[in-house]
């Protein structure tokens, strides 16, 4: 499968459902705003796709303050899916993104199956949306995510409802807070998902020993993200990639091309970079370059030749 290649012939493109990505690197929802915030640092056209902040039917103000605290090697955060709502997203945010030649994937959240379906319908009619990532796993919102993501039947119901509401690429995003993640991946596939992304944050907590209160204030728990979860995420992605036929997108603690390649070797078709975007806004470009260099050095012509080649 591998062949000698020159500088330009390394092909980083991959297919994610109906979307063709020019390379396998995308921002993880919630860590890249609506793209605009990063325009001083990178050219959005260089990315595989843009995945925007979690979007709900109605605007949401999100969690109380003290939303993010640093933990060793990561973040504990509870943003509570603050967002402007799907209508203002389409009116105010999408036009900016339409200027670029980059697929836009909208991460959606909801409190009922109907809400997920409704947001999907609205987005499907908007020009410039290529895919829907379904956040069934957001651990921060009391009524939202957790409920669907830890029950395979609820997972199936949400994915099926979104599937029925759109022809766009549908990509449910799994939560790691379960005993056997493969059951959830299978449920998504059966429900008609075009791809599966994982993982969202692990549920975590941090206490200020002086005030005896959560360091996240009134938000008792939060999602643990960042480099510290990478080994956990990698193992889950590896497990899921072995049991489903749809493309798998790896997420969790990626900070470098090496990290991204670990996920690809474990079977991921593409990756999302989350927390580390906040640290180095240009990191995704470094990752794309690094993946290209790796393939060139090893004289491999494309990602298909290495995906899932981890030797277990």
């Amino acid at each position: 499968m591998s062949s000698i290649v020159d500088d330009t012939s390394v092909n980083l493109s991959v297919n994610l459902g109906k979307i063709q990505l020019k390379n396998p690197v995308m921002p993880a929802s919630g860590t890249f705003g609506y793209g605009e915030e990063f325009a001083d640092f990178i050219n959005l056209n260089d990315l595989g796709a843009v995945i925007v902040k979690g979007t709900t039917l109605r605007p949401r103000l999100g969690s109380f303050q003290h939303r993010l605290v640093e933990i060793p090697g990561g973040s504990l955060c509870s943003i509570g899916i603050q967002n402007v709502g799907v209508d203002r997203f389409i009116a105010d945010k999408l036009p900016y993104l339409r200027q670029f030649r980059v697929p836009v994937i909208v991460n959606i959240a909801g409190e009922s199956v109907e809400e997920f379906a409704r947001v999907t319908e609205i987005l499907s009619k908007a020009e410039g949306v290529s895919g829907i990532e379904i956040n069934i796993s957001c651990p921060n919102v009391k009524k939202g995510g957790m409920h669907f993501g830890v029950d395979p039947d609820a997972t199936f119901a949400v994915v099926r409802a979104v599937r029925n509401a759109t022809d766009l690429t549908v990509m449910p995003k799994l939560t790691p807070n379960v005993t056997d993640i493969t059951a959830f991946a299978r449920a998504c596939e059966e429900a008609g998902a075009d791809a599966i992304s994982l993982i969202n944050g692990f549920v975590g907590m941090s206490i200020d020993v002086n005030s005896k209160r959560s360091r996240l204030g009134k938000n008792l728990t939060g999602g643990v993200t960042g480099p510290c979860i990478k080994p956990l995420a990698l193992r889950l992605v590896w497990q899921v990639a072995q049991v489903v036929n749809v493309p798998v997108v790896g997420i969790g603690g990626i900070t470098s091309a090496e990290d991204a390649l670990e996920f690809i070797l474990a079977g991921a078709c593409a990756v999302e970079v989350g927390t580390y975007n906040l640290v180095d806004p240009w990191v995704m470009i470094e990752i794309i370059d690094g993946i290209r260099s790796y393939l060139m050095e090893k004289k491999i012509s494309g990602l298909n030749a290495i995906r899932g080649t981890f030797e277990a």
Binding site: G30, T31, F32, G33, E37, F38, D40, F41, K53, R58, P59, L61, G62, F64, Q65, H66, R67, L68, V69, E70, P72, G73, G74, S75, C77, I79, Q82, V84, G226, P227, C228, T255, T275, N277, L278, V279, D280, P281, W282
Partner: protein, 290 residues
């Protein structure tokens, strides 16, 4: 805003726990306005992970072709401890300038800076600007400095070198004023009868701002305050640095379409982003004690 890979020129202790760092950073030095901040990556390791925000204390020409910035910081945790161990020649990765700084109230005559601890550095560039104008007799500059103890008093000399009146208040006494800076502020406005003529610019702990609220409303004095929040990105992407704000006040001061403020559907409040809409806010915009 942009990235600048800078080099430490000097790093020295000002007072126990307080340090000053000099960084070669010509790009950021040229672009920074009073009250803006930079975001520093203190290590190349994964802990500490996030960048740390610091106000630019001063932009200077350090000689020898080096222009750059100075930071004044207090050691409070792991990141600042790592910074204090840095020595001349080490590299440091910066993003800046970030945020929205102070706006000079040209309609006022007396400009009062109110600062405490590591809030003081946020006021110095504005102080320099006001000092120039004060030198030209266009306005009056008053500098009020607060410290818990005399030992924790920093930057006194730097602020005294400006064309202004410097007043220092120490909580446990032993200097110009015994007590809190806010009491000194109230007395000053009251005794000088300048309520209608003055504007306040402040940086310090939230408790200080809260003590200023009744003073500002009693005398109807405008105040700009520089807020702090834990930050993820510093560029408005992660929505972690929110500050509860009052809708009516925000609408009065800001073009809402170019701001990052999001309001409740119903009700009179919302969230602004300290990293984009701030760090400087008008005191009446902020809702304290969420």
């Amino acid at each position: 805003m942009f990235r600048e890979e800078s080099t430490v020129l000097a790093n020295e202790e000002l007072a126990p726990g307080f340090w000053k760092m000099r960084l070669v950073a010509p790009g950021i030095a040229a672009a920074t306005k009073p009250g803006q901040f930079i975001n520093i990556k203190v290590t190349r390791c994964k802990d500490p992970l996030f960048r740390r925000p610091f106000t630019v204390f001063r932009c200077s020409d350090f000689g020898g072709g080096n222009t750059g910035i100075e930071l004044v910081y207090e050691i409070v945790g792991r990141g600042t401890r790592v910074m204090s161990a840095m020595r001349k020649g080490e590299g440091l990765d910066l993003i800046g300038p970030l945020g929205r700084g102070f706006e000079l109230r040209h309609d006022k005559r007396v400009h009062i800076l109110v600062g405490s601890g590591v809030g003081l550095p946020a006021l110095f560039m504005l102080g320099e600007e006001l000092s120039l104008a004060a030198g030209r007799r266009e306005l009056e500059l008053v500098i009020m400095i607060d410290a818990k103890t005399k030992k924790r008093l920093i930057l006194e000399e730097e602020f005294r070198s400006l064309n202004g009146k410097t007043m220092i208040s120490i909580h446990d006494g032993g200097y110009d004023y015994h007590g809190y800076v806010t009491e000194m502020l109230r007395t000053y406005i009251d005794e000088e009868g300048i309520a209608a003529d003055c504007a306040i610019y402040a940086c310090g702990p939230e408790l200080m701002f809260k003590a200023m609220v009744p003073i500002c409303s009693q005398y109807n004095v405008p105040a700009q305050i520089s807020m702090e929040r834990n930050m993820g990105c510093g560029v408005g992407a992660c929505l972690s640095c929110v500050c509860r704000v009052n809708k009516e006040a925000v609408m009065k001061y800001r073009d809402i379409r170019s701001s990052h403020v999001q309001f409740e559907d119903e009700g009179n409040s919302g969230y602004a982003l300290v990293c984009r809409d701030g760090p400087v806010f008008n005191i009446d915009e902020v809702i304290f004690d969420e």
